[in-house]
Symmetry: C2
């Protein structure tokens, strides 16, 4: 264990040894990149005319219906001071007001710093940051099946994610450790991210108090002055669609915005329940809610980093169940990407979602659809890029490995087509000539190590070899792979003084209140 970690603010290049080692497990040959820089464009599903229509409708909605902010008088005052029409908890906005307020001060790009500067992530522009699963109260693996998540599961997931070169962020609630008190477990989760990974991580989202604890802990790790001047946390603020924000969310939003920490203002809707069952109607509502929330961030702290979020999926119109990887969800995220670019803020969205109970054909059809659509949408931050099952109730260890391959694939794909002289291979084609093969050609020998992406989970062998290997399906192979990765996990180390200060801080916070297990 490295007991002398570098100053996190130090910019010089460290040895990539640890991540390099993690990447060499399995068959992965990719060099780890701290985030994806997309070299090819985004897919434009709506015309400018269509986008203007959605924007116009969102403005009408904010003017005529407005949005409600519950149990937070301070926020109502902020809007009133800014000249908005406040009536009870309802706030109405003049057309264009939110957009103008956001565009005046919100940055289009910013960096969230990691304690290892090599792992700092750039959000906005052509950059995409992939984060693991967020929120599930259950975990699933093939050995134990589905069970309530524990702090041990949480720690193992943080470590597993840390070994995956295609994830860029340690995330937040990678699962809910339900064996810890509900009102204190955020402290243990934050500590686990800081202690067992040196990548960027998320703050606590629910309520101002927990957000404050995350900031305190970040100050211990990064230093007060650095935190005052740089993003080091990340907050997802969901609305209660349709058109409501409650005090749990507004409390955290205010705390992070005031501290200059990024807030992803993310309406979460299932079309048909929390928004109309049509794509155009849902987009209008999503944009309206995002505009009001982003405007609030900029009124609180002009210039604070923020992202337009969109977590829009669909509902089964047969049984009311949430559905994922659907055509309509794909259409919505592509349009959301265009709307965010026109607004001038980065897009936060979601990845490999599935309603499946298992890491099977359903889960990977839905997951692949979802992640590809979010990438084609030009998303800048993709939450739930790995592991999400059962509509977000489960983080699956095996699906984490299957999805990780997909994360690697999209990274390679969005690196674009190499048009260098070497890649053109004109001499190689001429030298090989008609009817011969390229397996032994000099060009192949020179390029084979890096020419083609190598995922870990597929079995591409012959049928006979596959039978000899035990006729395993992809999930069963993934079961072996995540264990191998966990075995190969290497502790990134943490300065003992920082570690001790964190533990002292956590002990003090925990001692202040009795445990509460339901809230």
């Amino acid at each position: 264990m490295n007991t002398q970690p570098p100053d996190p603010r130090e910019k010089k290049r460290r040895s990539g040894g640890r991540n390099g080692h993690a990447a060499s497990l399995g068959r992965t040959t990719e060099k780890r990149a701290p985030f994806i820089v997309r070299k090819i464009g985004c897919f434009e599903i709506l015309s400018d005319e269509g986008l203007s229509l959605i924007e116009h409708n969102a403005d009408l909605l904010l003017q005529q219906t407005g949005m409600e902010f519950h149990d937070d008088a301070e926020i109502l005052q902020i809007f009133q001071d800014a000249g908005c029409d406040v009536e009870g908890t309802r706030v109405r906005f003049e057309p264009g007001f939110c957009r103008k307020t956001i565009q005046a001060t919100a940055p289009s790009e910013f960096t969230q710093h990691a304690r290892n500067p090599e792992n700092s992530v750039r959000m906005g522009g052509r950059n995409t940051v992939l984060c693991p699963s967020w929120g599930p109260p259950f975990v699933h693996d093939l050995d134990q099946g589905r069970h309530y998540a524990t702090h041990d599961d949480f720690t193992r997931l943080v470590k597993l994610h840390h070994t995956i070169p295609y994830l860029h962020h340690s995330g937040g609630v990678v699962c809910e450790p339900v064996d810890l008190p509900a009102n204190k477990r955020h402290l243990d989760m934050l500590y686990a991210h800081i202690r067992w990974s040196d990548r960027a991580f998320m703050g606590a989202f629910i309520g101002a108090e927990r957000a404050g604890h995350a900031l305190d802990m970040a100050r211990i790790v990064f230093g007060k002055e650095f935190v005052a001047n740089n993003p080091v946390l990340y907050c997802v603020s969901n609305t209660n669609a349709p058109l409501v924000m409650d005090a749990n969310m507004s409390g955290a939003l205010k705390t992070y915005a005031r501290a200059g920490q990024p807030v992803a203002c993310t309406p979460w809707v299932l079309a048909g329940a929390m928004s109309p069952c049509t794509v155009a109607g849902t987009l209008t509502q999503v944009l309206a809610e995002a505009l009001a929330s982003l405007c609030l961030v900029q009124l609180i702290n002009p210039g604070a980093p923020c992202l337009m979020g969109s977590f829009a999926s669909t509902l089964s119109m047969q049984n009311g169940a949430p559905t994922f990887g659907t055509p309509e969800a794909g259409q919505m995220v592509l349009a959301a990407g265009q709307l965010a670019r026109r607004l001038g803020v980065p897009l936060h969205t979601v990845g490999t979602l599935s309603a499946s109970k298992l890491p099977d054909g359903q889960s990977q059809q839905e997951a692949t659809w979802g992640l590809m659509m979010s990438m084609f949408a030009g998303a800048n931050v993709i939450n739930h890029a790995t592991g999400w099952l059962e509509g977000g109730l489960v983080t699956s260890f095996e699906k984490t490995m299957l999805d990780a391959d997909l994360c690697g694939k999209v990274a390679r794909f969005f690196d674009g087509i190499d048009l260098s002289e070497n890649a053109q291979a004109m001499a190689a084609i001429a030298a090989t000539g008609p009817g011969a093969h390229f397996l032994g050609s000099e060009h192949t020998q020179e390029n084979f190590r890096t020419a083609l992406f190598r995922p870990d989970t597929p079995d591409n062998n012959s049928y006979e070899q596959w039978v000899a290997d035990g006729e395993l399906d992809a999930a069963t192979r993934a079961n072996t792979l995540w264990k191998q990765r966990l075995e190969g996990y290497q502790d990134p180390g943490l300065d003992p003084a920082i570690d001790e200060a964190l533990q002292t801080y956590i002990a003090k916070r925990k001692a202040e209140k009795p445990d509460v297990n339901y809230y």
Copy 2:
């Protein structure tokens, strides 16, 4: 059974009853469309500059290295007569010659007629036609596992495909019925397509004799005059990459081209073996081979319908095995779409390919990746859109159902975002208001039947319901679904006079020669 089928040349609208019934099996609510008309654009992965580079390199390759045409003196003569440089079996082309020849006469769009005019398919432009798996000598289902395909499997697959509303074409060798003599089974396969489906189907591709039989049978079904003036068959002509076409392929190509039947000139390459291990090099070779083949079609019969084909995937650089659903395969098909559009001919390519041995997480990750990329590429005909497993050695009954859902999803997705007043749902959002839900709203009641696509294979129920239902994975559910579909199959009927004429023709052809089981 309908014993009075309509004249296939009759254009008036028939009752959609049969396909409608098939579509009502399972939970499918989609109205069957004869093909996809894409209302949104294609993804452009290469800039004009990049495309010009590939085109320039392909021209250089055709000029300096050229292409070989084996065991077919007639083709060499055709090229010589056209002014090409013929040296032995090697043909070299002046830069621009192939492109100019193709662009002078090749149609950009055409219709392949089905015996039921409602099922005729339009190829080119914004249209996409999805075809089932082609070529596997094995079939797989969860009851029997993997086994050599028989004529019974072939017939069941034709019937199953006929019930799937999201497939548009009956295909060709949906599996190889290896219990029939190798030199005669094409007759039985063609008969099965004609007898058990009334959709468009493919001809026999291997050699001039079999191609001639397909034409003879088409003339029995459609009438000689109709066949002389309209596409009713479809031929895929693969090169033997790199840069060779053999007599089996050129024989069929000549036969179909002369008869004015569509030929998809489709270089089949696995990058690293049959082309360079780089995307740019592979694209150059694919374009060169396609240009020479398409040029040949137009020299044989100016104006004959033809498609630029691209079946380009990758090789594992670890064990030499074919790999599918890879980042590089996605890049290649997107660029191929752009190259075909610049050439002015429709694009033929491939769909849900996978190297997996099972309908599992691997197969659906690879399948989803592949079909989505081909759709974003603007492909006009997608072969192997369902069922393909194990690198093309297997057609899977269960994967056919999983892939069919994906075919439905892409159809709905590419229908684009509805921006009608109803879809904007402004009144519905205002009437529902903040904090309420849309489940019971009038707008939802009016739209829920058609608003959201309903696939058949996913389980979106609660965990508890899923447990009560037997904890089935997607493949196991698909096992039940394909049997339900087959049970619900309805015979489209065939005029007994045509049927008898076909059977007489087939008996005569079979009697002419002894059976041959290996060739």
